[in-house]
């Protein structure tokens, strides 16, 4: 018990003192992320409320759709929570100097695991709840549940919900690390991703979630039948279903069902906690010992083998050295490539969904056409923003204190930026373009639309990479080796928000340009829009990089 008290005391006081120092010395840096978080919660709530009210206005189908979306939202959150817990646990359970410190102290590893489980739960859940809380509040609002009522009962369901996801995620990771004694960790994760993708596909296939997109075909009678069928057969064995049922029952004052689901949630979470403890008792210490030796025993991709690759041979020596260094750093940081694979997995799910939906743009009303254009282009844009904020933003910070090597080398700092910029641009533009082109293909969009969206994506890729790279240099965190924590810092949040606003403006502009193009309404307004877009992109592409370089030179000098 004393250990738990100590453990959480340290966290509490470290947090309080950290906040005090921030408020006293860096109040602006503290105020900005707090305001952004608040803005995201309120904005998310308003947007979801608007969506919910829109659906309710569609009559019976809208009500069913609303319930389905609510359930689907929590299901996605549940899967994201498991993934997030796996990734976060790599740091909290294994690759942390604090764990090494405790492992050399006379602390039972089961106690340490249990304490770390709650820490992991907090680290991996708070960001995802920015989606979950507005979702529940908006849903509660249209179901006549006040904020107070939601605030009173949501934690009762939410805490066990988060605990189940944390226990599952951490158990998966312990088993993966244990197995990595016999197989390459990369191969195990790849198998895991394939299994996860398979389960996800089966889930969509059997619960017919993917055919939800049929809704855009406008055949409401089909949807009605489909929804009726769907409402009778939801997938009842996952906690997201219990949580959404709890909220629905609470709204409908169906107390017996409410108590049943809340009981189910709490008992399952207690069982999950116990099972995780049991697995940890057998595996945590030994898997920690396996992980300790991991850096030494792997036969790695060598600098020479990457550098001699013919694909890079055209690069001058300095550029090649920087590119190879970044590739090796990426490949050797599990948090990086695992999350990259996860992104790929979600993109694949989206494209599979599109391929199965059998939507032909030409057959639809103009309203639905526009909606799909927005959605597909927006999806590519927001994917690009998420990828650049997550992977490009930490690039400068990850140079760590080794940056002095670059600064003292006979080359200009701009070369470092240039390499990171073009490498990131090439990778992420290609990815976004693949998503957009495959999406366009399945939607049967015409050449004009495809060309316009390609051009917009090209410009957006330049802008988003510059924004993330530049702001990453403005807010560097050289002491933090974990890229996920770098991204979730104040600068990271500012970058995400700036990227999202930029994408939203570009998506809006593209829709407007396209509408004017379709209607042959070329006017002076169109000229102004294009001028505005050019100016915006001029700023976004050049300014952050220039700013970043200046700040970096100033801070390191």
């Amino acid at each position: 018990m004393l250990f738990y008290t100590q453990f959480f005391n340290i966290r509490f006081w470290s947090f309080v003192r950290g906040v005090k120092t921030s408020v006293r010395k860096r109040w602006l840096e503290t105020l900005v992320p707090v305001s952004i978080m608040t803005g995201m919660l309120i904005g998310g709530y308003k947007l979801l409320l608007w969506g919910a009210i829109f659906l309710l206005k569609q009559g019976e189908i809208g009500i069913l759709l609303l319930d389905r979306f609510f359930y689907l939202g929590w299901t996605i959150i549940f899967y994201l929570l498991i993934l997030s817990n796996i990734l976060t646990a790599l740091s909290t359970l294994y690759r942390s100097p604090e764990v090494t410190f405790f492992m050399t102290s006379p602390i039972s590893h089961i106690q340490l695991f249990r304490a770390k489980l709650f820490e992991n739960l907090v680290y991996s859940s708070w960001a995802i709840l920015i989606l979950g809380i507005p979702l529940s509040l908006a849903y509660g609002q249209v179901k006549s549940l006040s904020f107070v009522k939601i605030a009173l009962f949501l934690p009762i369901g939410l805490i066990p919900f988060l605990l189940i996801a944390a226990a599952i995620g951490m158990c998966i990771l312990m088993l993966v690390v244990r197995l990595s004694k016999y197989f390459q960790m990369r191969s195990i994760f790849l198998v895991l991703v394939v299994v996860f993708a398979g389960l996800f596909y089966m889930y969509f296939k059997f619960s017919q979630q993917d055919t939800l997109l049929v809704g855009v075909s406008g055949n409401f009678r089909t949807i009605s039948r489909y929804m009726g069928n769907l409402a009778a057969n939801p997938f009842p064995y996952i906690p997201s279903y219990w949580l959404s049922e709890m909220i629905i029952d609470f709204g409908q004052k169906d107390w017996s069902s409410f108590i049943y689901f809340i009981g189910l949630m709490i008992t399952t979470s207690l069982v999950a906690y116990e099972i995780a403890g049991w697995i940890a008792a057998k595996n945590y210490y030994s898997s920690f010992q396996v992980m300790e030796g991991m850096n030494t025993r792997r036969k790695r991709l060598s600098f020479r083998s990457v550098s001699n690759n013919s694909l890079l041979s055209f690069l001058p020596a300095q550029y090649r050295a920087l590119v190879v260094k970044d590739i090796l750093q990426f490949v050797r940081t599990p948090q990086q490539w695992i999350q990259f694979i996860m992104f790929g997995f979600f993109i694949a799910i989206y494209l599979i969904n599109l391929s199965r939906a059998d939507i032909k743009i030409a057959r639809l009303d103009p309203f639905w056409q526009t909606l799909i254009y927005i959605f597909n282009f927006g999806f590519s844009g927001f994917t690009l923003a998420a990828l650049t904020s997550r992977f490009v933003y930490p690039l400068i910070s990850l140079e760590g204190h080794g940056l002095w090597v670059m600064l003292s080398a006979p080359m200009q700092l701009s070369k470092l930026f240039r390499v990171k910029f073009w490498m990131s641009f090439f990778i992420f533009f290609t990815l976004a373009e693949v998503v957009a082109l495959v999406g366009n293909y399945y939607l049967g969009q015409d050449t004009t639309m495809t060309t316009i969206s390609t051009l917009f994506l090209l410009v957006m890729s330049l802008g988003l990479v510059s924004l993330s790279l530049g702001l990453g240099a403005v807010f560097p965190q050289f002491d933090e080796p974990n890229p996920m924590r770098i991204t979730s810092g104040a600068g990271g949040i500012i970058t995400v928000l700036a990227s999202l606003v930029y994408v939203a403006i570009m998506v809006g502009a593209m829709i407007y340009v396209f509408q004017l193009w379709e209607a042959n309404q070329w006017s002076s307004l169109m000229g102004w829009i294009l001028l505005g877009i050019s100016l915006l992109n001029g700023f976004v592409i050049f300014l952050p990089l220039k700013w970043g370089k200046r700040v970096l030179l100033k801070t390191s000098g």
């Binding site: 250990f3 100590q6 340290i10 006081w13 003192r17 102290s105 006379p106 210490y285 010992q289 300790e292």
Partner: protein, 248 residues
């Protein structure tokens, strides 16, 4: 007493520690010398329970570190080359945390804090948060943390990093005093002067094998070579042996 029995640790094709057997008596200050990659850190990680040996066993005062890790760790104080400290705690708070982890009574912790605050010359900044400390100050706190529970065994990895000459001297004296009072010390270092000055016995390892073991006089035998010359000679010979054994 530290007993290392035929311990082997492999990382894929690399044998980091190769059938190492060693016995360090109570109250003995043992220095482990070796070039980079010799297997010193792997040995320390196995001694502290951070890694499991593939073969062999390690006992600390008769307690097997693999079979009873918690009981074994209770006997040990460990100072890593890069110590972990909580930046937002003060030096005093950190020592209290460590004392509690070792389940020491509160009064005993306070007593020890006063002792080490004075011995390690930490009075002026002990109530400041650790994030403001210099490297040397952090090293001193790590020393105090490893000794606060009066361990029977001390395992120290590169003790002199970041210390000014005055504090370095003080640390050396402290280690020697501890050994004289019955604490068993396993010291891993590159600093040959420290090893020569402090150690009761010295072991030189390379490529996971113990090349030489004995007191300074035993190592020198009849020659007048310095420890530095002996060290280089032994390591070079071992490298040549390995090359000769490699199939052509």
């Amino acid at each position: 007493m530290i007993q290392i029995n035929n311990v082997t640790k492999r990382f894929g094709p690399l044998t980091a520690v190769d059938a190492l057997s060693l016995s360090i008596n109570q109250g003995e200050l043992f220095s482990c010398l070796g070039p980079n990659g010799a297997g010193k850190t792997t040995t320390i990680k196995m001694l502290t329970g951070l890694m499991a040996p593939d073969e062999g066993s390690i006992t600390l005062n008769g307690v097997d570190i693999q079979k009873e890790p918690v009981a074994a760790k209770r006997l040990v104080g460990y100072i890593p080359d890069v110590p972990f400290l909580y930046n937002k705690l003060t030096g005093e708070e950190f020592l209290t945390v460590v004392g509690n982890l070792y389940e020491m009574p509160g009064t005993e912790i306070q007593k020890q804090i006063i002792v080490y605050r004075e011995q390690l010359d930490m009075e002026d900044w002990f109530e400041q948060q650790i994030e403001g400390y210099s490297r040397g100050m952090k090293q001193r706190v790590a020393f105090a943390a490893a000794m606060v529970h009066e361990p029977e065994i001390l395992i120290i990895d590169e003790p002199m990093v970041g210390l000014d000459p005055r504090t370095g001297r003080r640390m050396k004296q402290l280690m020697r005093d501890k050994a004289n009072n019955g604490t068993t010390i396993f010291l891993s270092t590159h600093n040959l002067n420290v090893a020569e000055e402090l150690s009761d016995r010295i072991g030189i390892i390379n490529r996971g094998k113990l090349l030489s073991l004995g007191t300074m006089a035993e190592l020198r035998q009849d020659s007048n070579e310095s420890l530095e010359e002996l060290f280089i000679q032994l390591v070079d010979e071992s490298a040549e042996d390995t090359l000769a054994k490699k199939p052509v």
